[in-house]
């Protein structure tokens, strides 16, 4: 025997959890949570992906070096997304007293409801 054999019940339980997760993510998408709709949807997707990786892909029962490789994939993805987004999302911030907003998010998204147009926001300072 080579490799860990999971009982069928484990696979059926993971499948059921994934279906419930899909139902929840569809239902919650129609609830207006404001800025929180996106993190909630991503959170559910990450939970579902984690279940697939751990049980369907047997990562839970794999050796340490394979677990390290699995972690590496998502570590590099986090660097790619995280470092780029911290740059882009912070470009409109005023980083020192009296400093001007940079170009980027602040000016490019003027049509968000409730947000003042970029021009008038500049005028307040």
């Amino acid at each position: 025997m080579v490799g860990h054999i999971s009982p069928k019940s484990t696979y059926y339980a993971v499948f059921a959890a994934l279906m419930v997760g899909t139902a929840i993510t569809v239902a919650v998408a129609f609830v207006n949570l404001g800025s929180f709709n996106f993190p909630v949807a991503i959170g559910i997707a990450i939970t579902k992906a984690t279940l697939v990786v751990l049980f369907f892909m047997h990562a839970k029962y794999s050796s340490k070096v394979i677990k390290l490789f699995v972690g590496t994939a998502f570590f590099f993805l986090a660097i790619l997304l995280g470092m780029t987004m911290t740059d882009v999302l912070s470009r409109g911030l005023k980083t020192y007293p009296g400093g001007a907003g940079g170009s980027g998010y602040g000016e490019r998204a003027p049509r968000v409801p409730g947000a003042a147009p970029a021009a008038s926001r500049e005028g307040q300072h």
Binding site: V2, I44, V52, V53
Partner: protein, 232 residues
Amino acid sequence: MGDAVAVHGGHGDAHAHHHPDLQHHFDTLEQQHEAATLGMWLFLITEVLFFGGLFLAYMLYRVWYPVAWAEASRELDIVLGAFNTAVLIGSSLTMALAVRAAQTGKQRATVVWILLTMTLGFVFLIVKYFEYKEKFEHHHVPGPNFVFEGPEAGPAQIYFSLYFLMTGLHATHMIIGFFIMAVIAWMAHKKRFTPEWYTPVEITGLYWHFVDIVWIFLFPLLYLVDRAGHFA
């Protein structure tokens, strides 16, 4: 050389002492299985970053054009999207059961589970075909004939470019998966696998589950941007 043959019994005789599926550069079947699995995960790391580049492009444009993202996303059919998500998760279950059948030496069951996985994957692509067809009919395909009502037409075209790129690349992976699964099903039909050696089934399973994970993210990112009407 003659002495070596005399001492060790020669190459042909050596085969009698180990599993026929054990390659000579591995000590044990466990080590061989571990190496193959590790190699597949290494490939999947490159796949994560392959799709990761598209996810990054998606994130940047979504931050810049939230209203266009909200409006364009609502053009997608959420019922078909949710149905396809369920179908693909189901195909991951049948693939996991195909690997389990191979592990326990039930090769007939492996064939059946893999054929079922291919069938579910095919259902997914049929639904995707009708979704694409609808996009062509509504002129939502980026290019000179692109039509989108309102001031968000420009960035909406970027949304649909990423929609076709990401779902198209995902569908391409599925089609490649069909060819791999056809070979695996044939090998199982020919009773090539044993509980000691079923590595190709395991590796194919890793690939198919990865394709499932990509869709688990694509579904909320493309179909569920702003169904609650917060941005537009």
